[in-house]
């Protein structure tokens, strides 16, 4: 009996439409009052290959990927061997009209081979497999039948009555099949879950952007960053957003800066390779003192690397991108509600300090779907930081804070002169040595007034071992910590990775053993912490094969490290 939680993995080919099942079941789970988390890994191809999605349903909040597979539903025979190490004798394997390799039965797994041929033929083709599987999941997970039917109806409404009905039939067939399988799952419902919103990391960034007043996005498609562009495009009319696909990433960042200059609240979304091309634009933002919001969705490099996989390998890149010295802020959310609020905050901080703010996410984070507390945005108003200019307006007026009131052209009587050359207060080119120094100092002191987003300490305050993580590893580390159940270990989670927040030193100092956990090959954040605190990181738990950490793997590696 699977009581506290279950992990169901769907395995299929690109183009088979796993996402149909995913999007239906996640909403259904939410409506039915379950905590759930869905994560996805896929190949860089549009058809074929082997992609999998893991659906975790749990009585408690859950936000991580696990290795263990309780139920494997195979929609294609492709690549089943990739999953072999994740199976146990307790795993139930369902072949949805697919032959399950004999060796799985030999391993002790319960193998259920469903012959759907007849049903599919009657329905009109193999595309109904997805809905049959959805029906099976509905039943297995004890979701609301009525809600499921409702969902099917609204999903296929536009395609006509006949299709709605066929899909309802398929759903019911799935429900019936599962009922007969006798797979006992009894996850407790969570009263709060039903009131939550099911959304992906991508949607969280998109909503956060709109919350931050984003009304302009220019970007060039690049996985896994494109989703945010598409999300804002979908919302563009309703929310008044100019969405432009640029000819390249250089155009994208320059458009963003032009838009801010003219009074918009603008962003770009990209991945490491695209961001690399924005490096000069970063420096431009630094020199003209433009606000800028950059979403960088990480994937494994170098170069093209593994385009559809996950990694946290671009921290160093964003830390120092751009010639010369200028200030910046980097956020890396770990859960979806933080992604919303940090993205919103990115616009405010960018605007207030006239600096670039970077949001670092990754494929795993963006493509996962989870349950998020609702946010009432009417409580957080947008404060546009630009002013109405007077005739003697000076764009780069030297001020104690380093921040000069920002005018925009056409609003007021002044001229707004933005300059990428070193400039004097009015924005005209200068080569005066003293003015140069004054301008560098002005730019560099802007962050003095900035208030850090401090790291979150999870676990016992009396720790002697400190796990350190940032960004998308949040959920897995939290869950591993819980499983470890030791009160000498705590977890310091950084969602502001730069500047290193002020409370970091204290948090790190307390630990006898500091362990960074990073989804990259060199421990980039660990290095940054060492530089900024001069405190040694004793151990690095790194992963860079393109997959996120699983909870079990973390437990094992943390324990392994402690005993070494």
């Amino acid at each position: 009996m699977l009581k506290d939680q279950v992990s169901i993995v769907l395995s299929g080919e690109a183009g088979q439409g796993l996402d149909t099942i995913e999007s239906l079941i996640i909403i259904l789970l939410k409506k039915s009052g379950f905590n759930a988390f869905l994560s996805r890994e896929f190949m860089s191809r549009i058809r074929g290959g082997n992609n999998t999605s893991e659906i975790r349903v749990s009585s408690e909040k859950v936000h991580a990927f696990v290795d263990k597979i309780d139920i494997l539903i195979m929609l294609s025979p492709q690549g089943a061997d990739r999953l072999e190490t994740r199976l146990t004798p307790a795993t139930i394997i369902i072949g949805a009209n697919v032959a399950v390799p004999a060796k799985y039965a030999e391993m002790g797994c319960r193998v259920i081979a469903l012959d759907l041929e007849e049903k599919l033929a009657a329905l009109g083709g193999s595309i109904y497999t997805n809905i049959i599987v959805t029906g099976m999941l509905t039943s297995l997970l004890a979701c609301d039948d009525a809600s499921a039917q409702e969902l099917i109806r609204s999903r296929f409404k536009a395609k006509g009555e006949e299709l709605v009905n066929k899909n309802l039939v398929a759903l019911q067939q799935g429900v019936d099949i599962a009922r007969e399988l006798d797979i006992p799952i009894a996850i407790e419902r969570d009263a709060k879950a039903a009131a939550k919103t099911a959304l992906s990391g991508t949607e969280a960034i998109g909503i956060g952007a709109i919350a931050g007043g984003c009304n302009f996005i220019a970007s060039y498609p690049m996985s896994p960053g494109t989703g945010v562009l598409a999300y804002l495009a979908k919302q563009s009319k309703e929310h008044g957003i100019i969405v432009e696909q640029a000819e390249d990433e250089i155009a994208a960042i320059n458009m963003m800066l032009g838009a801010w200059y003219a009074g918009a609240r603008a962003m770009v979304t990209t991945s490491g390779g695209g961001f690399a091309l924005m490096t000069e634009g970063m420096s431009l933002a630094g020199c003209v003192e433009s606000p800028a919001v950059i979403h960088l969705a990480q994937r494994p490099g170098p170069a093209t690397g593994l385009p559809t996989r996950t990694e946290q390998g671009d921290l160093n890149l964003v830390l120092y991108a751009g010639q010369g010295d200028f200030p910046r802020v980097i956020y890396a959310p770990g859960k979806f509600d933080d992604a919303i609020t940090l993205t919103q905050k990115a616009f405010d901080v960018a605007d207030q300090f006239q600096i670039p703010v970077i949001l670092l996410t990754d494929q795993y984070f963006l493509d996962s779907i989870g349950m998020t507390e609702q946010i009432d945005f009417s409580k957080s108003a947008i404060v546009n930081n630009f002013i109405e200019t007077t005739a003697d307006y000076q764009r780069y007026a030297l001020t104690p804070s380093g921040v000069s009131p920002r005018g925009i052209p056409g609003y007021g009587k002044g001229l707004v002169c933005a300059d990428s050359d070193e400039h004097s207060e009015n924005g005209r080119i200068t080569e005066d040595f003293a003015m140069r120094v004054a301008m560098v100092d002005k730019r560099m002191r802007k962050l003095d007034g900035y208030k850090d987003v401090e790291p979150e300490l999870i676990g016992n305050k009396d720790y002697s071992t400190l796990l350190i993580g940032w960004g998308s590893t949040y959920g897995a580390i939290c869950e591993a910590l819980k499983l470890l159940n030791r009160d000498d270990i705590a977890f310091a989670f950084f969602q502001q990775v730069y500047p290193v927040p002020s409370s970091a030193v204290k948090m790190l100092e307390q630990a006898q053993k500091r362990i960074v956990i990073e989804n990259n090959a060199t421990g980039q954040f660990g290095k940054l912490l060492e530089m900024e605190t001069l405190l040694k990181v004793h151990q690095k738990i790194l992963k860079y094969n393109g997959m996120p950490f699983s909870v079990e793997e973390l437990v094992e590696r943390i324990l392994g490290g402690l005993s070494s």
Partner: protein, 286 residues
């Protein structure tokens, strides 16, 4: 002529005595003045180069950005606030070399901006290397055996890519140049004006006199709305035609005109408010 665009502090330019840019400064001021524009409502987006220093010597809003990147900046400014008059300005290296990709795709977008390119057939600011418009055989410290590449023809390229206003001017013909700039700014949509503008320090071949002797004003009988004729006219070399090479007869929708955000509400982005109610709907509880 005194104009409301005169920037007194900047009287002393960083340009060489005799540089064509000086003439162009006067021509541009004259054009802006005659168009009766309000300096606070005009923006110049420029790149980096001698040409791109232009706005430094004007009483005007400007975004003096990166080498090669004035067009995307200009496009976004106009999109974010269509009430502004937007000009993108820079040199032949700036706009056709480093910025070549933006040249193509800005034309495809057709934002309502005027694009002024100072064509001196050389890189002035970096001391005399070949530019995309340098002529074959032109010798420089980098092209020691002379330029070997085909000179870039911005006019026929722009027409091929779909520009609806393409003109060529010469700073030595001030009156015409001023009128062409006015026409370019007045044109609804992307308007290219490539201006012959001698560099006295680094181009000893294509001098003021050379341009004078190798250009001619297009006859009034020429019909600039005939695309095939325009492609021919634009391809002419030595003597190079001066005037409007191509102007499409029908209006082509501009970038801003096609933006959904302006369908119902023409107000620029900076005057708008986030709608929290709609926003809350993005996180449905059911």
């Amino acid at each position: 002529m005194n104009t409301r665009f005169d920037f007194v502090e900047g009287k002393n330019t960083a340009w060489c005595p005799g540089c064509g840019n000086m003439m162009l400064l006067a021509i541009l001021k004259g054009a802006l003045e005659e168009l009766n524009l309000d300096p606070t409502r005009v923006v110049i987006s420029s790149g980096i180069g001698q040409a791109a220093k232009m706005p430094q010597y004007l009483r005007i809003n400007y975004f003096n950005g990166l080498h090669g990147r004035a067009l995307p900046v200009a496009t976004a400014i106009k999109a974010a606030n269509p009430e502004l008059t937007v000009i993108a300005e820079g040199g032949d290296g700036d706009m056709y070399g480093e910025g070549g990709n933006h040249f193509l795709h800005t034309i495809r977008r057709n934002p309502d901006i005027a694009h002024i390119v100072h064509n001196n057939m050389v890189y002035g600011l970096t001391k005399g290397q070949a530019s995309p418009t340098s002529q074959r055989g032109f010798i420089t410290p980098v092209q020691v055996y002379g330029v070997a590449s085909e000179p870039f023809n911005p006019l026929t390229t722009a027409i091929s890519v779909g520009a609806t206003f393409v003109a060529r001017a010469f700073v030595g013909n001030q009156g015409q140049a001023r009128e062409l700039i006015k026409a370019a700014i007045g044109h609804k949509g992307y308007a290219l004006i490539d201006i012959f503008d001698p560099c006295v320090s680094f181009n000893k071949i294509n001098t003021f006199n050379w341009y004078k002797e190798n250009t001619y004003v297009i006859d009034a009988s020429y019909d600039p709305s005939d695309k095939a004729a325009a492609l021919k006219k634009g391809a002419e070399e030595a003597p190079y035609p001066l005037g409007i090479i191509y102007r499409q007869a029908e209006h082509k929708p501009t970038f801003e005109e096609q933006l959904a955000v302006y369908e119902k509400d023409p107000s620029p982005l900076h005057r708008r408010q986030r709608n929290s109610e709609l926003l809350n709907k993005l996180m449905p509880s059911e």
